[in-house]
Amino acid sequence: MSDSILDIIDLKLGFETSNGVSPAVDGLNLSIRPGETYALLGESGCGKSLTASAIMQLLPDDAWIMGDSEILYEQRDLLQLPEADMRPLRGKSIAMIFQEPMSSLNPVMTIGQQMSEVLRLHLGLSRPKARMLELMVKVGIPDAQRRLNEYPHQLSGGMRQRMMIAMALAGEPDILIADEPTTALDVTIQAQILMLMQDLQREKGMSILLITHDLAVVAQMAHRVGIMYAGHLVEEGSADDFFKNPLHPYSQQLFKSLPNIHKRNESLATIKGIVPPLTEVFEKCRFASRCPYVKDTCRNILPKWPNAQHKVRCHIYDDHYKNLFMQLDSDDNQKARNGLTNDPENLLSAKDLKVYFPIKKGLLKRTIGHVKAVDGVSLHLKTGRTLALVGESGCGKTTVGKAILQLLPNTEGNIQYQEYVLNDLSYNQLKPLRGDLQFIFQDPVTSLNPRMMVEAIIAEGMQAQRRYKNSPERMIRIQQLLDQVGLPRDSLQRYPHEFSGGQRQRICIARALAVDPKLIICDEPTSALDVSVQAQILNLLRDLQDELQLSYLFITHNISVVAYLAHEVAVMYLGRVVEQGPISQVLEGAKHPYTQGLLAAVPSIEKRHAFQGIQGELPSPANPPQGCHFHPRCPHAMGQCRKKYPKSSGFSKEHWAKCFLYD
């Protein structure tokens, strides 16, 4: 143990509940070595963030440390240190960055004020400005002098996270705890931040405790990996060993439930059940109730935590019990999917869609310009197919979805659905068509009315569309819908908050299906969900598509979901589609430099430590760059790219891109 810099020994902590203290972290042992990145991976509520707070001694007020937990740093037990001795370590020896860089910074203090605090406190600098500028340059913040006097809201998300990193580096820490540092960022920015962290680690030799739920981020960053499930560390090993050969059934299931292009013709493996809440009381092996290989032993005897290079907490690998598991009869729930059949017809076409938002100014609120959120987008949605719309946040993809459904006024363009032109219809003429066109939103928590019961939520659309004459008929249909989306039948008289995130998304899907839609616009429907739950929802969406011949417009930034689910993909940049085509052609032969960069920024599990990103950030749509919008970030930018916007060049019947490279 002497070669480690931080040792967590038998950490046990819990929350007070009505029936005693429930251990949210139970007997956690891990060591972090100097200069390594240790990734602690787990789904929400597994106790990984609590562990980080325990190291910093910043636990929430209602959390309790129990038993003989120890956290050793420089031969001192941090858990026993009085607050006055702990404080000098925080931000100096152990620094931390967080998931949401906007809320992590004080909104009413300037960047300079917030940063100088650390330098004054830990380094005793009375004039920290020179050092601040140095740090900001190091983390890649352009124009540092001016930024010092700016407030957090004036910076982009990526810049804010760089700021957090600069502040964390200010005390020259031995250990950097990064709690989901890139979860709230776009893939392109995520790649930049992760690379920055790698570079800084190489230079400073600090250790990083990386807390994340994203296997691919772990693959890119980690030297060693610990998998947490429900307060237990269930597997630990070097990243090489882990990714070559994940041992614990939970780890294996996580890999199987990740969507990717190779799984297109099968359903995703799902872990039955849900991620347990922090307060749940468990059987001996905490994964037993969701494990495909479970035996009685698992419920009666807690698996040991072995002393080995690649550790796993599971009876399957215990000499004493392993003959019980001679035959692994997993109830593998993957099923094959049908390939594509004949060429389907167009269900809905958007032609040259434009959505401009006016910028108003002055006493009389004159319009002085427009934010061109969507600037000439044409899309064709085919019956029974999925078109994915991808791009960074702020590129206008959600606006496209809302504009197609006429939830936003269309500035220009033409939305053709069957024999109707949607944007020419009045509110009342649109009403009967609303049932055909439905929307599923990103956040299932806020998109369900918390004061309505599930029955009312599902029935509301039917009533508006006058679908069923009498209530018994409607009731039968609602029951049918519950079965279809996999919700228990007793859900009807319950409120949304009684359901888990995945179940709430199922309610949203049931609500959309209730009016027999032909097209559903799915706006990031899985990005708020855990990996294992995401697999369940993606399977459901695909099953429904096969069964009901639904068309999806799938708005997302998650390329692996696109690869798994979509038939066609359109890549958006600053209000325009820059490349479009069948999924395999675009993913394997991306033509536009933006698409190429976007794909390269996606961390991959197969090609570890091998990603690069796109330089810079998405410019403001109120003031897009001249010529090709992408040229300031493009590695191939040429003279003419600065002058005019390129026309589209075709590569196959359906695959085209707008770039001068192919003109």
């Binding site: 910093m56 925080r90 931000g91 910074l105 909104p107 203090m109 957090m164 006493l363």
Partner: protein
């Protein structure tokens, strides 16, 4: 900035016209000039001639909105609405029913109101913030809980109790200051102390509890954890980070009432015999002098609208995220 303020002032005009019309209707159609005259002259033994004479003397002998007997513009101007209500827009309050110059009275009496209301506000904020900060520093301990209980008790007691109790204890038993009354110049101080103390104490309960909840809400935010993770002490976190954010709702909540301070406090002024605008209104109501009440209602509206505009300006001052427009 300038354009914004100008636009807000233009928006205020329809509101003021609305208030003006509604108060006019309430005062003149519900309570007609005849009723006013009768009330002023004494209900019994009043002849119709006496009423008519009173109306002529006080300028109430005109039609409400439209004067058919006059020529040209005078058809509209020589009416009660124009003379009594529209003139308020130029802050020409006219004479009260008992013949006093209302504008002059207001100018004279507002200083007494301010002398009480401003110290109450300033001292009150200081004490409430300190008390709330202490509760938050000792949050979820018995000190915090007893603080909250204390606040609830203070809130539950009627402010009349504080007034009478204060007068009895400090004025009568201890004989530290006069029970009530007022004097000009520096002598005013000994008359002001008691109402200020009573005003501050009766506000502690509600104020501290409100500030405490604002502070607690801020304490739960992520930036507080960041600040602690930097190694800052709890006191620094509280005073530098939390107080700065919490002062946004506190300051904007205070700014809105600042203009209304001119209007004084109805209760305190009449109990302590302070000749401010609060007691002015009370006396006017008691004497059925509606000209004064009308003027004060209009003035209150104007001051409140100014308060709202100042609040929006205060947001831009305390919160860098807020920009006007």
């Amino acid at each position: 900035m300038f354009a914004y303020v100008l636009r807000r002032m233009i928006y205020a005009i329809p509101v003021l016209i609305g208030v003006n019309i509604i108060t006019f209707l309430l005062f003149f159609m519900v309570n007609t000039p005849d009723d006013m005259a009768r009330a002023q002259l004494g209900d019994k033994y009043v002849t119709q001639q006496a009423i008519e004479r009173w109306k002529v003397d006080h300028g109430y002998n005109k039609p409400l909105f439209y004067n058919q007997t006059d020529e040209g513009m005078k058809k509209a101007t020589d009416t009660l609405f124009f003379q009594k209500s529209l003139k308020l827009f130029s802050f020409d309050f006219g004479r009260s029913d008992s013949g006093r110059d209302i504008g002059h009275d207001i100018k004279q009496r507002m200083w007494a109101s301010l002398a009480i209301a401003v110290p109450i506000m300033l001292i009150g904020i200081l004490i409430n913030i300190t008390f709330a900060m202490l509760m938050v520093f000792f949050r979820s301990t018995y000190l915090d809980i007893s603080g909250v209980v204390f606040c609830v008790i203070l809130m539950s007691v009627s402010s009349l109790f504080y007034i009478i109790g204060g007068q009895y204890l400090i004025g009568k038993l201890l004989r530290l200051v006069p029970i009530s009354g007022y004097a000009g110049g520096l002598d005013a101080i000994k008359f002001i102390i008691l109402p200020v103390v009573v005003g501050v104490i009766s506000g502690i309960g509600a104020g501290s509890r409100w500030y405490r909840s604002i502070f607690l809400e801020e304490m739960g935010k992520q930036y507080v954890i960041t600040a602690r993770a930097k190694g800052l002490s709890e006191i620094t976190v509280l005073f530098k980070h939390v107080l700065k954010n919490a002062s946004i709702p506190i300051i904007t909540g205070v700014v809105v009432i600042i203009p209304s301070l001119f209007m004084g406090s109805l209760l305190l002024e009449s109990f302590f015999g302070v000749p401010g605008l609060g007691s002015y209104v009370i006396d006017a109501i008691r004497q059925q002098d509606f000209a004064i009440v009308r003027a004060m209602v209009f003035l209150g509206t104007v001051l409140y609208i100014i308060g709202l505009i100042l609040t929006d300006l205060a947001y831009t001052w305390v919160d860098p995220r807020v920009r006007l427009n």
